[in-house]
Each structure stands twice: as C-alpha cells, then as structure tokens.
Symmetry: C2
Subunit: 99 residues, 2 copies
C-alpha cells in the first residue's frame, strides 16, 4: 500500500521558506495570499490492511517523520486523504513563535 | 481557494533524504519498502474559479515551485487531489541519474 505523509509547520511557527515562496510568487506577478512550505514522505508499506497501515504511520510520524512541537501531519493512502487522522494544527504558545 | 502543490523527485533521481528516512524507519523496526521525500507548498489563492486556479498553479510550478528536469508535481484544491493535472513522473536519462 502506498502511503503519503504530509508534514506542515503549525500555525504560528515561523516558515521562512514559505515567506520566500510567497514573496517570489508576488514578484513574478501572481496574486497569492499566504504560502507555507512543508514536506511529504511517500512510503511503500507491505500491507493492504488500512488500520494496520494507519497505526504504523502514526508511530512513524511520532518517532521520526515529524516534530510534534512545531509540525502537524496528515496521511493519504493510495492518494486519498484519510479523514480524521490528521493531527490538527493547534495554536502554539508565544514561546514557540519566535523560533 | 486553498491549493496544495505536491513536489516529488522523479523516478531515477537520487533521493538521499528518502534513503535516510527508509534506513531510519527500518532501524526503528518498521517494515517499509522504499521511501521518497518531497515537499509541499500550500498557497491561498484569491479566486474560487478552479480553472483559473489550476492555470495559475501550473505556471507557478513551471516558474518557481518545481524543477521540471528532476521533479514531478501534483495539485490538490481544498484538500482534494485534482485528477489529470499531475505532471506524470517520466523516466529520465542516465545522465540525470548520478546527480
């Protein structure tokens, strides 16, 4: 089963890459609101059991793929977003804001 | 309209980040096939017209967001993958393989 983990900076976390993209897009003449840059990890899993796959992916995210302090994640299985699995981006305290 | 551009290294292009993730996941005890690492860009667009949004996003990808020689991209609008827009990952020549 093909899985994709989408990792995004949480709201309030500085995102210099996103700011650079936003500014460059405007310079190129595009009308855009905010832009944020995250990363994605495609993983091939040796199972067709969705529950087992989601369980493994959740642990992978906690242990390696994301930094839960500053990043949220969402999961897609075979290209389809999995509802209810995304770790909701929560507001962070001001002490994390100036990182 | 919220759009997400998913950028992935094309098949055959070296992906050291993906190799590191794959190796680390195995060391942690996860059974995984290959892992590939790409990036994503969330862009807020000031239009609700899907056709206009896709047109702008395609040009953004060509001009700034991707390197078409070594990367493919796919687009999601409001969290839903857009069929037929992904630039299909094509095989690359051997000269690109050792980058």
């Amino acid at each position: 089963m093909k899985a994709t983990v989408l990792v995004r900076p949480k709201p309030g976390i500085l995102d210099p890459q996103g700011q650079a993209v936003e500014s460059s897009l405007r310079h190129l003449g595009f009308e855009v609101g905010s832009a944020r840059v995250g990363r994605l990890v495609d993983v091939e899993l040796p199972t067709e059991d969705r529950a087992a796959a989601l369980d493994a992916l959740g642990r992978m995210c906690e242990q390696l793929l994301t930094n839960p302090l500053i990043e949220s994640y969402a999961i897609e299985l075979d290209g389809v977003p999995v509802e209810g699995v995304a770790v909701a981006p929560t507001a962070v305290g001001p002490e994390s804001d100036g990182a």
